[in-house]
């Protein structure tokens, strides 16, 4: 299949269906309404089910229900709506259930703005809900990458029996660009081992899925989930290391910000500036290794570029960089978008020692 022009939200929705999603529940919120709208048409075509929930809270719990019977289920929302879903996401993790959550983020806090922003990094990577669970967070920067990551997201979710988050901003959700869609995945023929319901009527012990753990069970769960997150750091990190070999200046950016930064970096390279970029594709697990292997004798400064103010990824960068080089930050927020000139000027300030 050739490349076609698709809108961000629709490309993600289609990729999820191709990746096996057969249930979607969600509640309208800008800027991600094209995702449920697309699903309302598409899922019935493949024998799936779409429900417009009465709230974000209800929707995430519908996803939880669908996951208990082994169906690949997802929901999407935007920042304030994701906050409402956070309890349910915690329950998913607590009950060892897979699901796909998509946050097409907008500016905050509060009702904030419907315009794009990258203001949910801390929520996504540190505490997507109560109780100290973690989840893999993918942050694509192009629609092709969004399609590819979404397509495989259920594989991670089912492997770990844990929800997976895809985090993009409203700009990537609304943009139209070229994507190549993968083929429809074959759905697993065997029942999931946690699957409730017994369509074949086989004799088996009754199953229970819950996130309530009397006594010692919960500590065991906490340990297991903790070890799982450590293993992600060893096996599942995804990162783009762009022109780092001789880099004296290292930009750190993800998602839409990384695209704008890449344009600036390419321009500066043409002028002979030794600059590169670490672009986390998984925000969690964070690509620590990319920072550890840098030659700190060469690196003069880091520039954290995010479409939020103040920068939220900075603490993760600082934990790796320590005091070996200064970290500068540049961002726009509140629905004001980053732009080419602004990012270039911010980097040039650092180069000229004026930051």
């Amino acid at each position: 299949m050739g490349k076609i022009l698709m809108k961000g939200c629709e490309a993600i929705a289609e990729a999820a269906v191709l990746g096996g999603c057969r249930f979607y529940a969600g509640y309208p919120i800008t800027p991600q309404n094209e995702l449920p709208e697309y699903m309302s048409v598409r899922l019935p075509e493949v024998g799936g089910d779409f429900v417009q929930g009465e709230s974000e809270v209800a929707s995430i719990n519908m996803v939880y229900g669908a996951a208990t019977v082994g169906t690949r289920a997802m929901t999407s929302s935007s920042s304030p709506g994701i906050a409402l879903k956070s309890e349910g996401i915690s329950y998913l993790s607590g009950a060892n259930l897979p699901a796909l959550i998509v946050n097409v983020s907008r500016g905050g806090p509060g009702l904030g703005t419907i315009q794009p922003a990258q203001s949910d990094y801390l929520q996504a990577t540190k505490a997507m809900g109560h109780g100290g669970f973690r989840m893999i967070v993918f942050a694509p920067y192009s629609l092709q990458e969004a399609v590819d990551l979404t397509y495989n997201a259920f594989d991670y979710a089912e492997r770990d029996r844990n929800p997976v988050l895809i985090l993009i901003d409203g700009a990537l959700g609304s943009i139209k660009e070229l994507v190549e869609l993968p083929p429809m995945k074959e759905l697993p023929t065997e029942q999931a081992k946690w699957q409730l319901g017994n369509p074949t009527g086989e004799k088996r012990v009754a199953r229970m899925l819950t996130s309530i753990y009397p006594e010692a069970g919960l500590e065991t769960l906490n340990r297991t989930k903790g070890e799982m997150a450590v293993a992600w750091g060893e096996n599942d990190v995804m990162v783009e290391e762009f022109l780092l070999d001789d880099a004296e200046y290292v930009v750190v950016a993800y998602g839409i910000a990384a695209r704008v930064a890449k344009e600036a970096i390419t321009g500066l390279r043409e002028k002979g500036v030794k600059i590169g970029m670490i672009r986390p594709i998984t925000l969690f697990p964070f690509p620590k290794g990319s920072f550890r292997k840098l030659d700190y004798g060469k690196v003069k400064a880091f520039i954290d570029i995010e479409m939020t103010v103040p920068a939220q990824m900075r603490d993760d960068i600082a934990l790796e960089v320590l005091d070996r080089a200064p970290i500068y930050e540049y961002g726009r927020s509140g629905g004001v978008l980053l732009d080419d000139d602004g990012v270039l000027e911010a980097i040039e300030k650092v180069l000229e020692g004026e930051a």
Binding site: E87, G197, A206, T210
Partner: protein
């Protein structure tokens, strides 16, 4: 000798942890009997909420999922939509269903989800220690209405069957009581009818079961049954509120 009365096989062989005289046990038992009479013990999924009813997780021997407080109807929506041949039911208390979960129950009922909600109404939050519920009677004492519920500041008892029966989609909506054997038999028949309606693909069914809470009402089990007859049932009239042929 013929055995007339035995423990349903889909209930664990253990003593119930519900308080002495609590009708949650009886509600569980008659539901289990219906499940077995319909031969659904290998084909059902019970969605349990938060409250005393959560303890069902310990007693049942069928597939179960525990959900967040008030969200059982949303969870059951996801379950049933993706497992259309299973008998799916929730068993929720009044704080769970009529307060925190009001949006979920009314919306699921309004969508006509094809599952059954069993609603145990004892006019109080049991598990958390006896706070006022939306179903607490006027003047009834609770730990958060220590002088008795005052409608001027806390409103009136909320009647869920009556609310749900106003919606177009639900197929069967009825309220029963478990305070005496004759009513228990009626309640069991009501649960059976609801399950059969669901299995026939009929749509949303809602069965309210009036029960007691001797512990938090501060009454002996026997006195609590008298209290139900004299006080609770007059406020929550028993009967079938909606019965649509499917």
């Amino acid at each position: 000798m013929e055995q007339l009365y035995k423990r349903p096989k889909c209930i664990q062989p253990m003593q119930s942890g519900y308080c002495p005289g609590c009708l949650h046990s009886l509600a569980t038992r008659i539901t289990a009997e219906v499940v077995e009479e319909l031969e659904q013990q290998n084909n059902c999924i019970l969605v349990l909420p938060v409250g005393c009813s959560t303890m069902g997780l310990l007693y049942w021997k069928i597939d179960m999922v525990g959900s967040a407080h008030g969200r059982a109807p949303a969870v059951a929506t996801g379950v049933k939509r993706c497992s259309k041949n299973s008998l799916v039911f929730t068993y929720q208390g009044d704080g769970d269903l009529a307060a925190i979960g009001l949006a979920e129950i009314l919306s699921a009922a309004n969508r006509g989800e094809n599952y059954t909600v069993l609603f145990a109404n004892n006019s109080i939050y049991g598990m958390t220690g006896g706070q006022m519920a939306p179903t607490t009677l006027e003047g009834q004492k609770s730990t958060t209405t220590q002088k008795g519920r005052d409608p001027l500041t806390t409103g009136y008892p909320m009647r869920m069957c009556e609310l749900i029966a106003t919606l177009d989609a639900p197929k069967y909506v009825a309220r029963f009581s478990l305070h005496d054997p004759a009513n228990v038999r009626k309640a069991k028949a009501g649960i059976k009818k609801a399950f059969e309606t669901q299995l026939a693909g009929g749509g949303f069914t809602f069965v309210e079961l009036m029960i007691n809470c001797p512990t938090n009402w501060g009454l002996t089990p026997l006195d609590s049954l008298t209290y139900m007859v004299e006080n609770t049932i007059p406020v929550f009239p028993l009967g079938v509120y909606k019965d649509v042929e499917v």
